[in-house]
Amino acid sequence: MNILDVENLWVKFPTRSGMFDAVRGISFSLGKERLGIVGESGSGKSMTGRAILRLIRKPGIVTADHIRLEGNDIMAMSERQMRDVRGQRISMVMQDPKFSLNPVMTVGDQIMEAYALHANASKAETKRKAMEMLEAVSIRDPERVFRAYPHEMSGGMGQRIMIAMMLIPGPEILIADEPTSALDVSVQTQVLGIIDRLVQERGMGLIFISHDLSLVTSFCDRVLIMYAGRIVEICQADKLHEAQHPYTRGLLNSLPRLDEPSKRLEVLKRDPAWREADSVSGSVSARA
């Protein structure tokens, strides 16, 4: 059963030199699985995630044949209904944690606010829950972090705080935009473990946006590879290294490798034909 069905999604920005298409007619579905989206910077990964929550900023325009969340079309919902969807049913960890946290409010207050918006709990209960989440994302010394301001956090701590905030309401779908790019590999493994458990145990759907190809290979089930607003290839994650598309190959080859040292890294050479090729559909027909 698919939780989310996206059909022919476009994100456009009117610019002064004409219309800029950030996402150009992509289709995919999400089941109770870990779906990775990879692609170079500017390929439209974040815009895809934001479009699903209808969070594209003002001049931007989102069109789609439908974005179905368990049968209900998100495109047809009112702004009021959207507010119940956001956070409650679909959460998103934004790409830039420092930008998304309020610089003049303590970390604890922000997490408590996120929880209070979705649950009617007493202050003590909220605080307990917030501390629990901080511990869950393996933050040492959560007591101190609770009272601290965002600028006192290291890069990776900010990222984990965002994840904690987004997981508190227990969403059906989590869209994670580069959630672990500032984490060391071992904390990353722990944080992914929490997300993974939610997918396995609660049947949460995960859209995992990342540029870390080796991580996506080992963590996700399926991967969409995006280029210039389109999906150029879809792979089973563990078969990513067998990918055919020259773009995917180029990305894979530009990775430095611990086991095979080289003097210089390969740099991707782009082919204008990639841009024009049709988008591959990432939908899996509902296996009811």
Partner: protein, 312 residues
């Protein structure tokens, strides 16, 4: 890099030159960003109404001697309290037979004078106090912010009244009094902005080039605070005009023969029941100009708000 591509003379060429993503010189870059801000501003209809009114006010003030049909101070006691649309006195005359339209036109100069003076003094003082307090921190912050709090604790007009009472009535003192009461909110805003800016990586980066606090405050922090201050000042203009009018009304601002709008209302008040227009016309003028500044402020916020400008 000095060869600026000479733009084609036709209109389309200029437009493209201004809209480029890849400017070719410092001047070009500045012109392009100004033009794009202007385009954003222009796309907001209400803002353009505000701009229109203010441009009109400006022109009126500038050409007052040519526009005014009469001398604003000339008294014609035989023509006292004429109603609207009287021949030769479009908006009627006041209790001393002076032409209201002419007084209104000359009064726009005083209004603009007050507004510009306050808009220059208060935000700059606030910016100074706020950024220094926010950047230096410690005891400097504590002292400066306590002073700010003391000023904020009094209602603005009451404080302005106290200052005018101490300094003596008159237009310069009214400006000074209003400016003295208007700076604390700006200091607050500037300090808050500074606090969130000073820890950022780009400030650390200039520190690593050996830049001192003076340079960081003036070159790196001010440009970021100024936009939110400009928005705030335009939105506050209405309040400033009203405060000036209020002082005029209470007889503590501009002094009698002067055609200051608040003072005009004050004079008209005695005749309000029988000759309502004498107080209403300047009242409407104050209202219109305040509204215009508010509309402009709303539009400027869309253009200048750094939160939307920086990203993507």
């Amino acid at each position: 890099m000095t060869a600026v591509g000479i733009p084609e003379p036709d209109k389309q060429g200029w437009r493209e030159w201004l809209l480029t993503e890849a400017p070719t010189s410092r001047r070009h870059a500045r012109a392009a960003s100004l033009y794009q801000g202007w385009l954003t501003l222009k796309s907001n209809k209400l803002t353009m109404i505000g701009v229109g009114i203010l441009v009109f006010l400006f022109l009126v003030a500038l050409f007052a001697p040519f526009l005014a049909p009469h001398d604003p101070f000339a008294q014609e006691l035989g023509y006292r309290l004429q109603p609207l649309w009287t021949d030769g006195h479009l908006l009627g005359t006041d209790s001393l037979g002076r032409d209201i339209l002419s007084r209104l036109i000359y009064g726009s100069r005083i209004t603009l004078y007050i507004v510009l003076m306050v808009a220059l003094i208060a935000p700059i003082a606030g910016l100074f106090v706020g950024t220094v307090a926010g950047y230096v921190g410690g005891w400097a912050d504590t002292i400066l912010m306590r002073i700010t709090d003391i000023f904020l604790a009094f209602p603005r007009l009451v404080l302005a009244l106290a200052f005018v009472a101490a300094l003596g009535a008159g237009i310069e003192n009214a400006v000074l009094a209003i400016a003295l009461t208007a700076w604390p909110p700006y200091a607050r805003i500037a300090r808050a902005e500074t606090l969130s800016i000073r820890k950022s990586d780009y400030i650390s980066a200039v520190k690593l080039q050996g830049a001192g606090p003076l340079r960081i405050i003036t070159k790196h922090i001010w440009p970021l605070c100024i936009s939110s201050l400009i928005v705030r000042v335009t939105l506050d203009m209405a309040g400033i005009i009203l405060a000036a009018a209020g002082l005029g009304f209470l007889g503590l601002g501009a002094q009698p023969p002067s055609p200051e709008w608040g003072a005009m209302i004050s004079e008209g008040r005695k005749f309000l029941l029988d000759y309502w227009w004498i107080a209403t016309v300047p009242g409407l003028a104050i209202f219109t100009v305040s509204l215009a500044f508010n509309l402009l402020g709303d539009g400027l916020r869309d253009v200048l708000d750094p939160k939307d400008g920086g990203e993507l």
